[in-house]
């Protein structure tokens, strides 16, 4: 769980110096602070051993590169909230990103700009 701790701190710091455009964007796309509890609840459903299809009920894959063994997710109601997940791939030939891949490792929920590439 350590591999995203640094980013969590950095992400929180980044919220503070947002320019006018980003503040507007946040307010347009993200829920009020109280609603973050909903994101936390959904995040807590992501546990080691559950299949990918369960993860993707609550989070959606973000932009940029995604690998079967490691994916980064956005919270659908606020793309500034993220979680990174490592998977044990199911090994089914010709079916990468299988819904049956199981979670190996989950990062902390963290705040950062969306990955756009």
């Amino acid at each position: 769980m350590k591999f995203r701790f640094k980013m969590l701190v950095m992400g929180l710091l980044l919220v503070l110096p947002l320019g006018a455009n980003q503040q507007r964007n946040l307010s347009q796309n993200c829920p009020p602070c109280g609603d973050f509890t909903e994101a936390l609840k959904d995040y807590q459903r992501i546990k080691v051993g559950i299949p990918r299809k369960e993860v993707e009920k609550y989070f959606e894959r973000g932009g940029g590169s995604q690998f079967p063994s490691a994916a980064h997710y956005n919270y659908p109601k606020c793309h500034y909230l993220h979680v990174d997940v490592k998977f044990e791939v199911s090994g089914k030939e010709g079916k990468p990103f299988s819904p049956d891949d199981t979670v190996l490792e989950v990062s902390r929920l963290y705040v950062d700009y969306p990955t756009m590439d």
Partner: protein
């Protein structure tokens, strides 16, 4: 001539004419001379006629001083207009003075060297001759006809001291005998592809090679059109893998000796080999001590398995396993010895043609490494999404042939935005978005089957819309293995550019556009 200058046959004020004498006498049996004398027949000058035309003349020496002057002339002896270049060389040939003039058939250009010097007349580049210049050499060139030129020339130097007029002959610059050759012998022609050939010849004056291909247009042919064909201009097409010959013919002014550059028919030619072509190897890197299947993609491979031979570097034993029915793919087993030398070497496919000849393909590099590494990063698929995003799938190979051998390697991307390392990067309005600079998403494993990559549009747009300069994000795909170069990252491919912009399209709508690797997605901005 004076008798003809009666105002009817020739104008009274004419001071020059081109004269053509036609005879049915044998060569060198008749010598024509033009002579001009004053009324007393005491003063006069003579000059022989010449039937020599050339694409280039070199002459010397002209003189100009208070007692001498030189008049140099060239005329168009052809039947079509041509462009003539006249050059004076001076200061031991280190300086030049250039004039050009279009000459109609039988028209002449007259160069009074004394006038050019004395009146400081500029050349085509604005350069003037030095006022104290007294001698030099000269050259005429036919710019329109390089093979068989149409220029004749003459020069007179008159000496006021004793009233002498001297005729000076320039030398024609024909092409050297036996110097007329095709560009390539043999010419390699890709199967179902094109091979371009032409003709060079050596100029006898400068000893430089010149492209005289246009004198050979229309003369091209191949000996075996089932192997290769050739068009009017010498462009060959590979019909089937094999060997044949190709030749052409054309007329050139050849240099026999000074003042003798007759037109001769030349017939250069050479071999033409239609070759199989390798376009790629997959994987293109192998690990020593491993045996892996290499997919050789190209064209012109024999559909008969036994007629294909694959050559690879030292320590690699190759077995051709299969060939596709269209001759575009060979699967070959590369058994790489444990002691095979690490580094790059060439791979070729040699095909035995139906005529029995063996024709090798181009050579493509195959690299040997000591350990298992990722290699051959390629686009598997691409799709423009309705959101305005570009979506890619990428795949890569293992140098051992087994992706599982890369389980400890990492594969990832880093994206650098403008003004790096300043972060975040705020996208230009009306695009409303900011990104970490650089962006460094979580990495995958070398053993992963695929990577997906979505390049998104901004989160929103701010009105009123306006055009932006395109901005470029630089995407770097890399891999690292803990046992290779101390785990340092290695680029899969040269950096990719992701270019985004807002523009007003010809239909009047504002649009967002993204471009990467030659793929583009364009979407209309909302609320228009």
């Amino acid at each position: 001539m004076a008798a003809l200058q009666d105002g009817k046959t020739l104008p009274l004020d004419a001071n020059w004419a081109s004269v053509i004498i036609t005879t049915n006498s044998k060569p060198d049996e008749l010598m024509a001379v033009a002579a001009s004398y004053d009324a007393t027949l005491r003063y006069g000058a003579q000059t022989p006629f010449s039937d020599q035309l050339s694409h280039q003349w070199k002459g010397g020496m002209w003189e100009y001083d208070p007692y001498h002057n030189s008049i140099i002339t060239a005329g168009n002896g052809g039947t079509k207009p041509t462009r003539a270049a006249f050059t004076i060389f001076y200061n031991q040939g280190t300086q030049r003075y250039d004039l050009e003039q279009t000459l109609q058939p039988d028209e002449q250009m007259w160069m009074d060297v004394g006038k050019l010097i004395g009146e400081h007349l500029p050349d085509k580049n604005g350069k003037t001759l030095p006022a104290d210049l007294t001698s030099g050499s000269y050259e005429f060139r036919d710019l329109a006809n390089t093979g068989v030129g149409t220029l004749f020339e003459g020069k007179v130097i008159y000496d006021k001291t004793y009233g002498h007029v001297t005729y000076g002959c320039a030398a024609c610059c024909g092409y050297k005998l036996n110097s007329v050759l095709v560009w390539f012998d043999p010419l390699g022609v890709p199967f179902q592809g094109l091979g371009y050939d032409g003709v060079n010849a050596t100029d006898s004056c400068s000893l430089q090679n010149f492209d005289v291909s246009d004198s050979f247009y229309g003369g091209w042919s191949t000996a075996n059109t089932s192997v290769a064909t050739v068009d009017h201009y010498g462009t060959h097409t590979g019909v089937s893998v094999g060997s044949t010959t190709s030749s052409t013919y054309g007329d050139l002014q050849m240099f026999l000796k000074s003042w003798n550059c007759p037109i001769q028919r030349e017939s250069p030619g050479g071999g033409a080999n239609v070759k199989p072509t390798i376009s790629s190897l997959l994987p293109s890197t192998g690990t020593v001590g491993k045996t892996l299947t290499i997919v050789i993609t190209g064209s012109g491979f024999s559909t008969t398995l036994a007629n294909n031979t694959v050559q690879a570097g030292s320590g690699i034993a190759v077995t051709v396993v299969s060939v596709s029915t269209d001759g575009t793919t060979i699967n070959a087993s590369f058994a790489i010895a444990p002691n095979a030398p690490v580094g790059s070497s060439g791979v070729t496919v040699t095909v035995k043609a139906s005529d029995g000849s063996t024709v090798p393909s181009n050579s493509v590099n195959f690299t040997l490494v000591a350990v298992a590494i990722p290699t051959d990063w390629t686009i598997l698929s691409e799709a423009p999404l309705n959101s305005g995003a570009l979506f890619f799938q990428y795949v890569w190979s293992s140098s051992t042939g087994a992706k599982a051998d890369l389980s400890t390697c990492s594969v990832g991307e880093t994206v650098f935005y403008p003004n790096y390392p300043t972060t975040p990067y705020v996208w230009p309005l009306p695009m409303v978005q900011s990104t970490q600079n650089p962006t460094f998403p979580p990495t995958g494993k070398g053993s992963d089957a695929v990577s997906e990559d979505t390049n998104y549009p901004p989160g929103s747009y701010q009105q009123p819309y306006s055009a932006t300069n395109p901005f470029t994000a630089t995407q770097r795909w890399w891999w690292s293995c803990p046992y290779y170069n101390n785990g340092s990252p290695n680029n899969f491919v040269p950096d990719l550019s992701i270019v985004r912009k807002i523009f007003k399209d010809t239909d009047g709508f504002w649009k967002y556009q993204i471009t990467k690797s030659g793929y583009t997605n364009t979407v209309k901005l909302p609320n228009q």
